[in-house]
């Protein structure tokens, strides 16, 4: 089937098989910043924003996302124009292998949109769907707090 996908603010017409999940459609069309870690909705490496809310793109049938706003990590910041959240992850030492980081950044972005000053509990809840095996989450928590500070300073 064919459909219009709004990805990172651009409309794209994409042909895809009706049973495909959004993760595959994104990756097959060049959005490889969306990572595949488990395909079972458990690891969060494939998290994107769907109408502003983080979802596991491996658990979203692509057809159901047609016409909705999809944001990958590249829609949040870029190497040359990084988002303060991304800078915070770098500064806090929260990036080790970096495979989970795009998902973490998106989860943080969604959190800070709703909550400028998240508590430890808020952070744990917002990032509970993003697994990381490298950091033990210590620096990730730190990064989210730093990001909150940076984001509010930027406003």
């Amino acid at each position: 089937m064919k459909g219009i996908f709004k990805i990172n603010g651009k409309e794209l017409e994409i042909s895809f098989e009706a049973h495909k999940v959004l993760l595959d459609v994104l990756r097959e069309n060049g959005f490889t910043e969306v990572k595949e870690g488990c395909r079972e909705g458990e690891c969060g490496a494939c998290v994107v924003l769907l109408d502003g809310k983080p979802v596991n793109s491996c658990q979203v049938l692509a057809a159901s996302a047609m016409g909705h706003e999809i944001t990958t990590v590249k829609g949040i910041g870029t190497l040359h124009n990084p988002h303060p959240i991304e800078e915070a992850f770098v500064e806090a030492g929260a990036v080790q292998c970096g495979f989970c980081t795009p998902g973490m950044v998106i989860a943080t972005y969604a959190l800070l949109k709703e909550n400028k000053d998240p508590s430890d509990e808020d952070i744990k809840r917002a990032l509970d769907g993003n697994l990381c095996r490298c950091t033990g989450y210590v620096k990730i928590k730190k990064a989210v707090k730093l990001a909150a500070k940076k984001v509010s300073e930027n406003e």
Binding site: E36, C38, L79, F89, V90, G93, C97, D128, Y137
Partner: protein
């Protein structure tokens, strides 16, 4: 020695972090090439069987399928998938595909198709007639069971290898006479401990891509910790010249030992060689669980004899039985490390016996996993020490401090027990373990909380500790090399074989180079792990990168600095020893004249005696100085449900001079949290036929952000004279302590000794029933 560093020891940002955080980086699975084929496998549903017939016709006729390979179609070279130095201390017992399958999840066939989905679907259409064979899932029954490895399996090294008896490796090591010493001891302790299977669970699944370059050479991009070993193994297994293979390591999404294994590279290379098309394989999470590599389960029997008056352990016997699973990568060395990384910590024991066997079973295959045997060995070791101290009526921390190995001391084990051969004698040149114990105790509030059994309703609190050491690379075996050249603007290319798998080694190696050369980190352009464009390095394992690759970088930096000074001296018209470098500028002794690196580089290239300022160096570790650590757990045990909650976990580490403190903490925290998951619930659950029942993140849980207790890391700095800038390693050690520290904390809380990990609520309740609560 306390050097005044400018780059080393500073919180330098990880050089690849921003590219990773913004999703700019391409990992192996992200690579797509024109006409690329996707590879899928068919796996054995039997724990042990002979393939009698295999019909691939329907699979081959599936639209989109281009190749189906069975054991009849692939080279039958025996090899080990263990990415170790040559000759590997692991048995050659593996074929790409074999007529016999040895565990549920062993490979039966390879399918290559236009898409991954087609390949996976086609694999299901292969019809196989199996003749089931007797199988065994119990390592304690392995020797009497149907032999698992191939008839012709062999070992390159003259070590114990008896495949017909399912013995994949054996070690016996003896000092003094333990039996006599046990007789003379006042108290004898004897206990059995058991640790379980586990998955590395790097979030990036294993993947590999192969393609031909324009010169007809096979290029492999792979999620590997060992690019150079991968090249060597692929060359041998496929019978193609090494010169015709290039292995490239892109960014890697975590390894933890799971990617120190070469089992995909030869498959994509073969598919590409046959089809002349690029090929790619990406394992599913299920495949990672069942068919990649795991933590080796191990049973240890500790026996200790103690003199009551002095508290001296006069004799210690450690018997280890390790389960290799169906193949033997790292079978010898992981088991050996259960002794060699553990026993020297209490170096004053005069009578010592270490006897270990690794056996084949029809279960998933063990491999390298962070901690590498030490994790398995330290459980029983630290619990025994806790028991002994209790029996002696002394604080276990005092007991630790009195008897642990110290600076200037040695252990005979260093010399006797190496990796597939004898070890290397060494004297400890840096050790802050006592300080680690003291500082850690302070943070966990040991003296306030120990033996208090603080109770609230059904929940009781306790604290426990464990002490540890690891190594820094494999001495006289592991080698790393580096190449540095200077560019016209005074920047440098640093090329290393060392393999950054997310650890930050590219960054710390750049720090070492920048520090030594006398420039800033932003002047270092790092390129690593490409068999064509970087010098050799054994790879990322055995906690070797900082120490060994770092040593190579330091030597190389020294050499290029010499070269820079030589040109500067010529330009400044002074002797070389009258020139010194500071912040990228060469000064004359009296600071009256100077030339910048940029000036020097330009001069060297365009003015006189034109040449490339460059250097190359390699380094082997002559010793393997251990990092030391003390870990502390505070737990709360629910006596009605058996549930353990870790409230706080403190690690105090001596890794020499930390090159990058944030990355050091990151290594310790990551290892610790992985260790806590392993201690509490991570496990492989098999049915009676050896089928893994929890091969998914849905059923196999790794810690989430909600599961992490308060985690604290303390760095107790020392200076290791043999290490680059005084550094030792730090990557593995932190995973070894959670099991014993938590077990000891549970004992402190409720008086129950846990001897089998993971400490599931179920096991804790059972232990409470058997042993009776002591509140």
């Amino acid at each position: 020695m306390n050097r005044d560093f400018k780059v080393v020891g500073k919180e330098v940002k990880k050089i690849d972090a921003l590219a990773l955080a913004t999703g700019e980086v391409k990992f192996t699975a992200d690579i797509t090439l024109p006409d690329m084929l996707h590879v899928a496998f068919l796996y054995s549903p039997y724990p042990h069987a002979e393939i009698e017939e295999i019909d691939t016709e329907e699979a081959l006729n599936t639209p989109g399928v281009e190749l189906v390979l069975t054991y009849k179609d692939v080279p039958q070279t025996l090899h080990t998938t263990a990415g170790q130095g040559y000759p590997e201390p692991s048995p050659y017992d593996t074929r790409i595909l074999d007529k016999r399958v040895r565990f549920v999840g062993d490979r039966v066939a390879i399918v290559a198709a236009r898409t991954r989905e087609i390949a996976q679907e086609a694999a299901k259409k292969i019809k196989v007639k199996y003749k089931p064979l007797p199988y065994n899932l119990d390592p304690e029954k392995a020797q009497e069971s149907e032999p698992v490895p191939p008839q012709d399996a062999y070992h390159l090294l003259p070590t114990i290898y008896e495949p017909r008896k399912n013995i994949a490796a054996g070690i016996k090591l003896k000092f003094g006479d333990v039996d006599v010493a046990f007789e003379k001891s006042d108290i004898v302790f004897e206990h059995r401990f058991e640790v379980q299977y586990a998955s590395h669970s790097a979030i990036e699944p294993h993947a590999a891509v192969a393609f031909y370059d324009e010169r007809g050479r096979i290029n492999i991009i792979s999620t590997t910790q060992v690019p150079f070993h991968a090249r060597r193994i692929v060359s041998r297994v496929l019978g193609i010249p090494l010169k015709n293979i290039r292995v490239i390591k892109p960014r890697i999404g975590g390894g933890f030992g799971g990617k120190q294994e070469v089992f995909l590279e030869q498959v994509v290379a073969l598919v590409t060689m046959i089809t002349k098309k690029p090929s790619k394989v990406v394992l599913s999470r299920r495949e990672v669980f069942t068919s990649s590599r795991t933590r080796h389960p191990m049973i240890t029997w500790y026996k200790a004899g103690v003199k009551k008056e002095t508290g001296e352990i006069t004799a210690l016997k450690l018997k280890a039985l390790m389960n290799a699973g169906a193949y033997g990568p790292h079978a010898l060395t992981v088991m050996a490390n259960a002794g060699s990384k553990v026993l020297p910590l209490f170096n004053k024991i005069k009578n010592l016996l270490f006897e270990g066997y690794t056996v084949y079973t029809n279960l998933p295959v063990g491999g390298a996993y962070r901690g590498y045997g030490a994790t398995q060995g330290y459980f029983g070791f630290n619990v025994m020490l806790d028991m002994i101290a209790e029996e002696l009526g002394i604080d276990v921390l005092e007991f630790f401090k009195k008897w642990h190995i110290k600076k200037g001391e040695t252990s005979p084990i260093f010399e006797e027990l190496g990796e597939g051969k004898e070890g290397v004698a060494q004297v400890i040149r840096s050790c802050a373990l006592s300080e680690c114990i003291e500082k850690g105790a302070e943070r966990i509030e040991w003296y306030k909380k120990r033996r208090k059994k603080l109770r609230e309703g059904d929940k009781v609190r306790g604290v426990g500790a464990a002490i540890l050491m690891q190594g820094s690379g494999i001495p006289k075996i592991d080698m790393g090399a580096a190449y540095i050249k200077m560019n016209e603007d005074g920047s440098f290319n640093l090329h290393v074989g060392a393999t950054d798998i997310g650890t930050g080694s590219d960054t710390i190696l750049a720090q070492i180079a920048a520090e030594e050369i006398g420039t800033s980190i932003d002047k270092m352009i790092v390129y690593s792990s490409d068999t064509d464009f970087t010098p050799f390095d054994v790879g990322a394992y055995a906690s070797s990168t900082t120490y060994i690759s770092g040593g190579a970088v330091l030597k190389c930096a020294r050499k290029i600095k010499e070269e820079i000074i030589k040109v500067a001296a010529e330009m400044l018209n002074v002797p070389m020893d009258a020139v010194f470098i500071e912040n990228g500028v060469a000064y004359t002794e009296d600071r009256t004249q100077h030339v910048s690196f940029e000036d020097i580089a330009l001069y060297s290239m365009y003015s006189r005696n034109q040449h490339q300022i460059q250097a190359v160096a390699s380094h082997i570790g002559l010793e393997s100085p251990p990092p030391f650590m003390a870990q502390f757990a505070e737990v709360e045990v629910d006596i009605k449900t058996g549930r353990i909650e870790v409230l706080k976990f403190v690690s105090a580490v001596d890794c020499g001079q930390p090159i990058n403190p944030v990355l050091v903490e990151g290594q310790v925290e990551g290892a610790t949290v992985n260790g806590i998951g392993y201690a509490l619930w991570e496990d492989y659950i098999f049915d009676e036929q050896g089928r893994l029942k929890n091969a998914s993140f849905w059923d196999y849980k790794i810690p989430s952000i909600k599961d992490v207790p308060e985690v604290e890391t303390i760095i107790c700095k020392t200076y290791e004279p043999t290490g680059p800038m005084g550094a030792k390693s730090v990557a593995e050690i932190g995973i070894n302590g959670p099991i014993p520290a938590i077990a000891n904390a549970v004992y402190d809380a409720i008086g129950i000794r846990l001897k089998s990990s993971p400490f599931t609520p179920e096991k804790v309740l059972k232990a409470i029933k058997e042993q009776g609560l002591k509140l």
